[in-house]
C-alpha cells in the first residue's frame, strides 16, 4: 500500500509517500525514525497488522515547513529520510 501523508494547498502539493509493501522488508530496523531531525517518523501497526513507518499526526499538516531544514536550502544535498530508507519506500512530492 502506498500511504500518502500531507496535503495540497494554495502554494503547492506536499506529500510524503511511504510504500508499506517495501517498508515491511526494511533490513535496517526503520532507520528513518532515527535520522529525521524533526523526529517525524513513527512505527505503527497498520490496518492489515503490518508494522510500518508513518508520519506522526502532529506533522502531517505542516510538511512544507517541517521538511524545510532538510531541503537544499537547509544545507542538505540529499534528504536524510530517503537516503536512510534502504528499501526505497519513502518519496517526497516536492
Amino acid at each position: 500500500m502506498i500511504a500518502n501523508y500531507g496535503y495540497k494547498d494554495g502554494s503547492g502539493e506536499y506529500y510524503i509517500a511511504i510504500d508499506t509493501d517495501q517498508c515491511i522488508q526494511c533490513p535496517v530496523d526503520h532507520a528513518c525514525t532515527k535520522v529525521c531531525p524533526k523526529g517525524m517518523f513513527e512505527i505503527i501497526t497498520d490496518d492489515y497488522d503490518d508494522n510500518v513507518a508513518a508520519i506522526k499526526q502532529a506533522h502531517r499538516r505542516a510538511l512544507a515547513y517541517e521538511c524545510t531544514v532538510c531541503k537544499p536550502a537547509g544545507g542538505y544535498a540529499r534528504l536524510p529520510c530517503t537516503t536512510a530508507c534502504t528499501p526505497g519506500a519513502i518519496k517526497h512530492s516536492w
Binding site: M1, I2, A3, N4, Y7, K8, D9, G10, E13, Y15, D47, Y48, R61
Partner: protein, 307 residues
C-alpha cells in the same frame, strides 16, 4: 387602556443544511438465525452510522447526525437500529469502530481507520470490480485505490481544509437558503455552465458566492459554480493516485448529483451505482472487518462487549 406588549421572539431559523437521517432493516431476514452477528460504527465529524451484518451480509443500518460527543453519537446510532429489530448489545459478537471518533466508541473491541473500512465497504456495495473510491466526508476527502478484495493499495487524504467536503456544501446551503437535498438538481437548472468559484478555501468560496449574488447571478448559477469547484478539487486528488475503473463514491456528497455528474464529466468515467446509502460504506466496512475477525477466531458465542 393598556398597550399589548408583543413577546420579543426571533423568527424561526430554518436549517437548510440539515440532511435526512434514515434507518433500515432487512425485513426478509431474522437476525436470531445468524451464526455471526457483527457491528460497525462510523463516528464521523458530521454524521454517524451503525451497521449490522449477519453472517457477512448487510442486515440493517442507522445513519444520523453526529452529536456533541463521540460516545453518545455511537450509542445513539447503534440504539436506533437495534430498537428497530429488537436486538441488544449482548447479541452482537464483535464491534469495530471507525471514523474520526473511532477511538471513542465505548463498546468497540477494535478500531480500524476509515480508509480501510471505506475500501472494504465500497467493495461490498459496488462489487469486486471497484478499484477507485472517492470518499467525500464531512470534513475531509479521501481518494482510495484498492484491489479485488477491497484491500487498500494507495490512498490520499485531504483533511487540511473544508473546501470540497460535506461541511462546505452545508455552508453554501445555509448561505443560499436552499435545502441541501435540492442543491444538486438546482445546479443543473442554468442556461450556461458557469466557471468554478474558489476551490482553495470554503471561506473564500463563501465570500465569492456572496459577491456573485450581489452582481446579479441567480442562486442556481452560484450553486452550479460551487458544485463545479468541489468537483475540480476532488478530481485533482483522484488524478494524483490515478483513476482506474470501476469508480465508486462514498460519503454524503455521493448523494449530490450536482457534484457527482460534474466529477464524471471531468474524468470521463461513470460512477458505479448501488442500492444502498452511500454514507454507510465506512460502518459497513467496519462490520465486515469484524465478521472476518470473528470468523478467524472461530467465536461461537457473543463476545462480552468492551466496557
Amino acid at each position: 387602556m393598556s398597550a399589548v406588549i408583543q413577546p420579543n421572539t426571533a423568527p424561526e431559523k430554518k436549517e437548510y443544511w440539515r440532511w435526512a437521517e434514515n434507518t433500515w432493516v432487512d425485513e426478509t431476514k431474522d437476525w436470531r438465525a445468524a451464526k455471526i452477528l457483527t457491528c460497525g460504527i462510523d463516528v464521523g465529524s458530521v454524521s454517524s452510522q451503525a451497521v449490522l451484518v449477519c453472517d457477512g451480509e448487510l442486515y440493517g443500518f442507522n445513519n444520523m447526525r453526529t452529536g456533541n460527543n463521540s460516545p453518545d453519537s455511537a450509542n445513539n446510532a447503534l440504539k436506533g437500529v437495534m430498537d428497530k429489530c429488537g436486538m441488544s448489545l449482548d447479541n452482537i459478537h464483535f464491534v469495530v469502530g471507525t471514523g474520526y471518533g473511532r477511538v471513542n466508541v465505548p463498546f468497540a473491541h477494535k478500531a480500524i481507520t476509515e480508509i480501510a473500512c471505506h475500501a472494504r465497504g465500497a467493495n461490498y456495495m459496488g462489487g469486486r470490480g471497484i478499484r477507485t473510491i472517492l470518499d467525500m466526508g464531512g470534513q475531509d476527502c479521501k481518494a482510495i485505490h484498492c484491489d479485488e478484495k477491497g484491500k487498500v493499495t494507495n490512498f490520499l487524504m485531504n483533511d487540511k481544509c473544508a473546501a470540497g467536503t460535506g461541511r462546505g456544501m452545508e455552508v453554501i446551503a445555509d448561505l443560499l437558503q436552499i435545502p441541501i437535498s435540492e442543491l444538486g438538481p438546482r445546479s443543473f437548472d442554468v442556461d450556461v455552465e458557469p466557471a468554478a468559484v474558489s476551490s482553495v478555501c470554503v471561506v473564500f468560496a463563501k465570500s465569492e458566492a456572496l459577491g456573485l449574488l450581489k452582481s446579479g447571478w441567480t442562486k442556481n448559477k452560484v450553486v452550479a459554480a460551487y458544485c463545479q469547484a468541489m468537483a475540480e478539487r476532488v478530481v485533482s486528488l483522484l488524478e494524483r493516485i490515478g483513476v482506474e475503473k470501476e469508480f465508486f463514491i462514498t460519503g454524503g456528497i455521493g448523494k449530490n448529483a450536482g457534484v457527482v455528474k460534474r466529477i464524471e464529466r471531468i474524468l470521463k468515467i461513470e460512477t458505479a451505482q448501488t442500492k444502498y446509502d452511500s454514507q454507510i460504506a465506512g460502518a459497513l466496512g467496519a462490520a465486515l472487518f469484524a465478521n472476518t475477525l470473528v470468523t478467524k477466531q472461530g467465536a461461537s458465542a457473543p463476545i462480552k462487549a468492551a466496557a
